[in-house]
């Protein structure tokens, strides 16, 4: 009887061990992370292009007031001349630079008066592809994996959020004069130029 019980116990133990090791449960968000493992080192890539390529193209960005004038005069021509788009659609990205007087420091942005235009410098929601795509430096079809391509924007934005924004926000106040370089996203079918939002790549309090 005892031998039978031992035999059954061992059998149940073996089946249990086999069963335990053949099935596993994993949360979907873990599966998401696993399914999109990125071998491409976006941070290293962004660090590599930051000074010599990315900053360089933004140094040559059009003046934002002149760009707005061009857009008001001939939207299609301005999109063709100054805009960058990855594919098909209404969205275009533009490099810009300018200088303006701080009129408000809000939780999510800083408002600048640039000539007759109010410009919103984004300091909270620095996400998306504006900086990457307006630069014209990075092409989708150079990357087999879309996740690699998207991770470039994530690294650029993270660098801006960590290295540029905190210092700027700790110093900026109403009445300051601020110089900026950055990118904007515009929709040519629904163009709104009343309060353009700039994702900054450089910010400098000049006075």
């Amino acid at each position: 009887m005892n031998r039978k019980a031992i035999k059954y116990s061992i059998g149940i133990l073996v089946i249990g061990l086999l069963g335990y090791n053949s099935v596993y449960f994993q949360p979907l968000d873990k599966k998401l992370a696993d399914g999109n493992e990125i071998s491409f080192d976006a941070k290293a890539y962004v660090d590599g292009i930051w000074s010599n390529e990315l900053m360089k193209v933004y140094k040559d960005a059009p003046d934002i007031a002149l760009l707005i004038d061009s857009l008001e005069q001939n939207t299609v021509a301005a999109f063709e001349t100054y805009g960058y788009a990855l594919g098909i659609g209404n969205i275009g990205y533009f490099r810009v630079q300018g200088e303006g007087l701080v009129t408000a420091v809000n939780n999510n942005n800083v408002l600048l008066q640039v000539g007759s235009h109010v410009i919103e410098v984004e300091t909270e929601f620095v996400y998306g592809n504006a900086i990457r795509d307006a630069s014209g430096l990075v092409k989708l079809n150079d990357y087999d994996n879309s996740s690699d391509f998207n991770s470039i924007s994530e690294s650029i934005n993270e660098k801006i959020r960590k290295e540029l924004i905190p210092e700027f926000r700790s110093k900026v106040k109403i009445g300051d004069k601020v110089r900026f370089e950055g990118a904007i996203e515009l929709n040519k079918a629904h163009l709104k130029l009343s309060q353009i939002e700039v994702i900054p790549i450089t910010l400098q309090i000049t006075e």
């Binding site: 998401l32 999109n36 098909i88 659609g89 969205i91 929601f125 998306g128 879309s146 929709n187």
Partner: protein
């Protein structure tokens, strides 16, 4: 009469018959319109019906014979459609895949026979199989929705994510775009993340179950509009429609109407008609001899919310 020779006449007809049989098919092929197959993942979702019908209509406008095949979200059935299309002499395939990995073999079936395949909206995980892939920029669209989500929930609260088909890249591109923003806000807590296969009824069931465990959620992000409508229906049934913000993705007509009626907060407007027309026109370019297509052609996604919904209509801009 003396010139009539039955043997010579017989030879003449025989030669004529041989010549006719040699030149005939090419001539017929030249005279017949090109055939284009539109193979779509499912016709059980209005968004894909618009995609398929627009592709077929544009192909017909361009002078082709177009036929729509419904894969019913089944990769094996999709294989049958590809084999059928190739053996039936279709000249191009406008394709909406069922599975990013599982559909690659089907595209290769066509490629081996020299039939070009233009993917629409959904991606396959290979860059050497399809002639071109015209894809919604789901990631960027969901980054915009993620920003809006954080603003509307005021950076804090419990929320739920309902995912689409686990095997579709769009599911993860949308989720990744959304989380690339939302995950930076630690007071926004995702209490459940479940898939509902882009299906309205499944999303309703999933949402009903989640609400029993987490009645205090503030928001739900859904990977497509059908699931957003299902989730909203569950919220109405439980009397929580006014306290939970629903966000979708697609730009389908019922969600655009619901945004107008202030029932749903926002969606990502994809442009299925633009994608479908572009695919049909790429087929035309291919028939005209073009071969240097970009492998991936992104189509921008625009966020539609309660502030700008008047600028949009279902499946596109006004």
């Amino acid at each position: 009469m003396t010139n009539f020779n039955p043997l010579r006449m017989l030879c003449f007809f025989a030669v004529a018959l041989i010549l006719n049989s040699c030149g005939g098919p090419d001539e017929r092929a030249l005279n017949q319109p090109k055939k284009v197959a539109v193979i779509v993942s499912t016709l059980n979702n209005p968004w894909f019906v618009v995609l398929a019908e627009t592709a077929a209509d544009r192909a017909t406008e361009l002078g082709y014979v177009a036929t729509i095949f419904d894969s019913q979200n089944n990769t094996a059935l999709e294989t049958d459609h590809f084999e059928n299309a190739v053996s039936s002499g279709y000249d191009a395939i406008l394709f909406n895949p069922t599975d990013a990995d599982g559909s690659i073999a089907n595209v290769r079936i066509a490629k081996q026979k020299g039939v070009p395949v233009f993917c629409m909206d959904r991606e396959i995980n290979a860059t050497d199989a399809a002639t071109s892939q015209i894809l919604s920029d789901s990631y960027a669209g969901c980054v915009a929705i993620g920003k809006y989500f954080v603003e509307k929930l005021n950076k804090k609260g419990k929320y739920v994510e309902i995912l689409g088909l686990v095997g579709d890249n769009n599911t993860w591109s949308r989720s990744k775009g959304f989380h690339s923003v939302v995950d930076h806000y630690p007071e926004l807590q995702m209490v459940a993340q479940q898939n509902a296969d882009f299906d309205r009824n499944k999303a309703m069931e999933v949402m009903e179950s989640i609400l029993q465990v987490h009645p205090d959620i503030k928001g739900v992000f859904c990977g497509n509009d059908a699931m957003a409508m299902g989730a909203y229906q569950a919220l109405v049934s439980s009397g929580k429609a006014d306290q939970v913000m629903v966000f979708g993705f697609d730009g389908a007509s019922d969600v655009i109407n619901s945004i107008r009626d202030k029932k749903i907060l926002a969606t990502g407007m994809q442009f299925p008609k633009l994608i479908a027309r572009t695919a049909a026109e790429y087929a035309l370019s291919y028939f005209d001899g073009k071969r240097d297509f970009a492998q991936k052609v992104p189509v921008t996604v625009e966020m539609v919310n309660q502030e700008n919904v008047m600028d949009y209509q279902a499946y596109g801009s006004k």
